[in-house]
């Protein structure tokens, strides 16, 4: 066999192998999503979403868990978005190349890599025990907020960096102060990017279990929490309970599938919203 021919076969097989790798990855994702969609769809109904669990969680719905997840994610947003956006503005607009800036950037990169269970430990020691907030919505929300912070900072900084420098110069040349330039020209242009990043960060927080495990989540409540100092149910933890801790695991499997489907739909919905904001923004940018 000639060298050229061998090279051709080698290339053919090699490239097919790469395609196969991609197919395996896609197949896994599609199997996961379709299994949950297929078996979860049976459990899905308005009643499932809007009723409370009944008969030792063998019947009924997920309303308190869904409401708890929404509530705790709102606390996460209220904490992580202002702090994260402010930090990103400092880094991108004000910070000089100092030791402080380098320390800050290193902190952010490292915080992003810290395992979520460590945030759980930290939340217990700081909020639950240290600050005396107890096992509560607020403790969990703040813990998730800390976890989401590096994500928000990084995506906001990226959005700020993509605003052309000429906008800032134009504003300054007209006698704007630095803050006026940021407020009136930089931030409005960066808002779509910041929003996209924030939604993606929050969608991650909404699906997390480890950080809330010991900071506020509980396995059963008949109602959503009526105060931020109370414990709450959450969708991911509810799925964990239904699939591993329940006394009648096989019997509640359909409910577990339904819960998994709602959780994934919630995350995908947030991702799709973020995708469209980014898509429209890019289209706007390219039309300039």
């Amino acid at each position: 066999m000639g060298l050229t021919k061998r090279k051709k076969i080698q290339s053919f097989l090699g490239l097919r192998f790469l395609g196969l790798c991609t197919l395996i990855v896609l197949a896994f994702i599609i199997i996961v999503l379709s299994d949950i969609a297929w078996k979860g769809a049976g459990a899905l109904s308005w009643e499932f979403i809007f009723s409370i669990p009944r008969k030792g969680m063998t019947e009924g719905g997920i309303y308190p868990a869904l409401a708890g997840t929404v509530l705790v994610t709102m606390i996460t947003a209220l904490f992580s978005i202002p702090v994260g956006v402010a930090t990103a503005i400092y880094l991108n607009e004000y910070a000089s190349d100092s030791v402080l800036t380098k320390a800050l950037r290193a902190s952010i990169r490292n915080l992003a890599g810290v395992p979520s269970i460590i945030y759980g430990l930290f939340g217990v020691a700081l909020f639950v025990e240290g600050a005396g907030l107890g096992s509560s919505v607020i403790s969990s929300g703040l813990t998730l907020g800390l976890m989401t912070l590096p994500y928000i900072i990084t995506s906001t900084e990226e959005a700020l960096r993509s605003v052309p420098h000429t906008y800032r110069e134009g504003a300054l040349a007209l006698g704007a102060t630095k803050w006026e330039a940021i407020q009136t020209t930089v931030l409005p242009s960066a808002v779509p990017g910041i929003t996209t990043g924030a939604i993606l960060g929050l969608s991650r927080a909404a699906g997390e279990t480890a950080p809330i495990l010991f900071t506020g989540v509980t396995f059963y409540l008949r109602f959503p929490p009526d105060s931020l100092n109370n414990e709450f149910m959450a969708l991911p933890y509810h799925l964990y309970i239904l699939s591993t801790q329940h006394h009648a695991i096989e019997q509640v499997r359909p409910l577990a599938y339904g819960t998994a489907l709602v959780l994934i739909l919630l995350v995908i919905l947030l991702n799709v919203i973020a995708f469209f904001i980014r898509y429209r923004f890019n289209k706007l940018k390219s039309s300039r």
Binding site: S96, P164, T166, Y167, G170, L172, A173, G175, T185, P188
Partner: protein, 254 residues
């Protein structure tokens, strides 16, 4: 050579970008209501000099300056001088048109609003006047809510000039304002610059020597961070003192 009132005076200005010595002792007097062109090969420091006249270098932490720049006899470089107030009096038009991603109206209104110069009815009048001064009013008419980004490059640059004159600065700095534009747009902007001389003092950096000849009263030739020659434009182009200047304007180097 100049018995007119001096608007802007540069005194022994040195500027370093980190280790690099970019401006080496510039002395320059700019008379009121005149157009001064700064010419010279790329990297000679002409844009750097221009940007020091409205404290644009404040944005760059690696810049170190010594010497002084006086506006109406008062220093704009010392610590007491407020960079924001300086830029309010010394406007700038950039190499590439840089309108904000806002409506045409809001682009011109921007400086008026942040500086608290005009509101409501007065704002509308001021915007209209600025657009008329820049020949944009007739072209655009009542269509001021369009995005500024939809305009042509030449229109965008005239909008940037309109935005600058709307806040009635004393001095307008222009950094190669026509380098991104076609010849017809360039002609319109040159016409505009000549008209603006009645009200403003203008400093323009240009690569284009014909442009310097067409619009300016005075021309400064810079080379390697030094102001080699500064005189009336006819003199610089017809009968320069320095051999270096002659060779540059004749096009034998640079």
């Amino acid at each position: 050579m100049m018995n007119k009132e001096i608007k802007l005076e540069v005194k022994d200005l040195h500027l370093h970008f980190g280790e690099k010595h970019v401006l080496k002792g510039i002395d320059l007097k700019i008379p009121k209501n005149s157009i001064v062109a700064l010419i010279g090969p790329s990297g000679c420091g002409k844009s750097t000099l221009l940007r020091s006249m409205n404290r644009m270098h404040d944005l760059n932490a690696t810049v170190k300056m010594s010497g002084d720049i006086l506006l109406d006899g008062e220093s704009i470089l010392n610590r007491q001088a407020d960079a924001v107030a300086v830029r309010r009096k010394v406007g700038m038009v950039f190499q590439r048109p840089n309108p904000f991603p806002k409506s045409i109206f809001n682009n011109v209104a921007y400086g008026l609003q942040i500086n608290g110069i005009a509101r409501n009815g007065a704002l509308k009048t001021a915007v209209t006047d600025a657009l008329k001064d820049c020949y944009l009013w007739d072209e655009l008419g009542d269509n001021l809510n369009r995005s500024a980004l939809e305009m042509s490059g030449g229109q965008q640059q005239r909008l940037c000039i309109a935005r600058t004159i709307a806040i009635r600065p004393d001095v307008i700095l222009m950094d190669e304002p026509c380098s991104a534009l076609d010849p017809i747009s360039t002609a319109r902007i040159e016409e505009l610059i000549l008209k603006l001389k009645e009200k403003y003092t203008i400093v323009i950096v240009t690569h284009n020597m014909q442009q310097a000849m067409r619009v300016s009263d005075y021309t400064g030739f810079m080379y390697l961070g030094e102001l080699v020659e500064f005189d009336r434009t006819e003199k610089v182009f017809r009968n320069p003192e320095q051999d270096l200047t002659r060779r540059y304007v004749e096009g034998t180097f640079g």
